[in-house]
Amino acid sequence: MSAPLPQEVRGASEWVLTSTDAEETQLYWRLGTLHAERAVQTTSHELLLYRDVDGQRGSASAHLAGDAGDGERVATALTAAGLALNPPYRLPEGPASYPDIDLAAPSLPDREALMDWEAGVRRAIERAGAKAAHLELFSSRHHAALTASNGRGHTWHGDQFLLDLVVASGEGDASTEFRLMQEARLLGRLLPDRVLDRALAAVRDRSRAVLPPTGRMPVVLPASELATLLSAVWVHTSGQYLVTGMLQKKVGDALIESEGDPITIAADPTLPYAVTSAPTDASTAPARRLQLLEGGVIRAMHADAQYGAYLGSGPTGPVGTLVWQGGSVSAADLLKDGPVLEVLAFSANMPDPMTGAFAAEIKMGYLHRNGERIPVAQGSVTGNVFDALRNCRLARELEESKGYSGPAHVRFEELQVAGS
């Protein structure tokens, strides 16, 4: 599947060619009726070229088409690489052992199986008195091959399923909806029961939800919202951002000085069937588990070949899934000692990865107070990821979502809630 390399590649000091092709089925339903269908082929041959000039190194990529124009594409990329010069580094040397990660089922479900799957989901939603207003289901298998001038090479394939689902309930202005976006490597893992149950609870309770009270209070977040919070941890353990000056803390420094449960997080690109797992990064570094934080202290920073060389650590491979070690209490116990705000979902939770600040509207949640569970919506929760992580309690139950594996719920002891 790799494109032949044009002779101009000899002008490069090093190179990596990554080829991928995929076939995808896309199905679209509206109120239970199929209204659109697509069959899509994609292909890509990206040649990453490195060029050394006067003791410095530049890189640029050429996208090969397998035609007579490839020579000129490579020549143009080499010119670009000669202009964008940085301190020297090299690709990893010597043979590499790439992990064999399960990323695909033995066979990809066919169109009929996808139609059956949608019908099953729709029936489950209807049994709960709701409807699937909108459902998109994508199914694809991709094949990838990596070859490089350092002698390394690897081929792999993986499946990908994507679900965009809007569950709705009620009529007219009293109607409510909840949107889910799910990704998985296996169709059977695309919509876990607990995720659908949350969506159904949200549309059932949304119509009687009230604004939460304003004040500082404990807030419990589900795994689906924790994944985005951890994006700030990913940035603050980035070798690239340390080298380029944005970060002040390095390996051995405490990123989070915990007063609650200790914060221990690893990056693992080798988890079977995880959406973000991959056997190699773009610089031919094999996937491996990397302990980023231990008890809030930075143990390693993730880096590619370039920034790994500048740090002296070498490349650490792809990041994959952030794996957060769970706690010792049950998720149910996190809701005690109220009032506690349990957030089912934010409308959009996009913390500033540099400062850690966040402010998010409550799409749906519950206020636990004096033994009552009161549905709440709108209003907002604001805080700072790093301050919040200092004093939090982690559920012992674990859950996985895209890029996240860790506590199913986390209780942050004091966040600002704005409501009534």
């Binding site: 069959a39 000056g245 002040q248 907002s380």
Partner: protein
Amino acid sequence: MEGRTLFELAADGAAQGRWVSMSRVRGLTVAALGPTVEVRQDPPREGTVVREVRAGVQREWAVPGWHADWVERGLRQETFDWSGEQPVDGVPLKEKLEAVTRLRDRLQGKDPRVVQVMVRYQELVEETRVVTEAFDRHSRVGRVHFLAHIVVHRDGRSEYEYIGRGAVGGFELTQLDDAQIDGMVEQALRLLDAEPVEPGTYTVVTHPEVSGVLAHEAFGHGVEMDLFLSDRARSQRYIGQRVGSEYATIIDDPTLRGGFGGYPFDDDGNLAAPHVILDQGILVGGLADADAAAALHASAGNGRRQDYSRKVYPRMSNTYFKPGESSPEELIAGVERGVYLQRVESGMEDPRNWGLQITCHYGQEIRDGQLTGRLYRTLGMTGYVPDVLQSIDGAARDFSMWPGHCGKGWKEWVTNGTGGPHLRMTARLG
């Protein structure tokens, strides 16, 4: 798909007589991050799509490559070139790199508390051709986004500020305002002392960047008419009714020069035209692609796809509030206690329940009609869309557009522009 691939359709001539679209998107990023520089060519997204609609189902076959030979029908080709005054293809890479490093070096030396400077030049060159039995349209659109971002650090705390410019056009868009460049370091340093806002309901004056995102989230996504077909949009029951004050006029205009989300014809091939969504507070109508327009007897022209690998949906282009007659200073002068909201971090729509979320990087206190200089950081603006729009009691006569990328839900990313004037309204902040 009935056992036929697009290749088979093309081979037997079956693509003739069908709707065919070819598109290629070529992207280049030139960036300086601290001391390092980077040149990155995005993977070219080039493909051909053949469409047919049968029994109410739209079917598309999409394959890589620009297969013009499949659709030579002898129609007169309408061509549109929106490459700007200085088309990016004619500018040497060296010049693009110099524009980036020159600005990086200028900002790097401004203050010892500046710990990181990032300058990024991004160009997109999009070529689209849509051929049907009735027309053959071909466009070339250039988009440039030039951004400078600095990080400052003091006493264990970091903050950032950025300036940028993005629109349909060419390399001329890399010219930034000197006063803005000089002011961004000072502003970033001031943000180190910013505090959280006391949660509550405030009179707010929105910077055009915030006004634009309000238009986009309130009555942009909420009137994308595929939502009408799935009974997801509350707005469809409010056409012709008042949902905002007389100062609330919202327009979506793909032909607006200076916007980042413009195009001469949409990805269905329909010619672009402005659409008034809200006229002085009255909801007029929505935005449709060919599919929604046919089903709802609406005018099309807002069908957009991320690239050939994705479906066309009704989408926004350049969405903005129409300017009023006040000055921004007059709007602020009328506020006894409030907040001047600036710098959007993110926004989110809620088409069924009309919730609103806009997160701003910072805002400034207003007391007795004056900006006090006291800064608030990371503010969440929330509310019920009609309440917020009904509360608008002033629109300034200034106008500016801001570049962005917008998803439908959490995918299907397209370029867009948002903007308008300064507005004054009431909203909940936290």
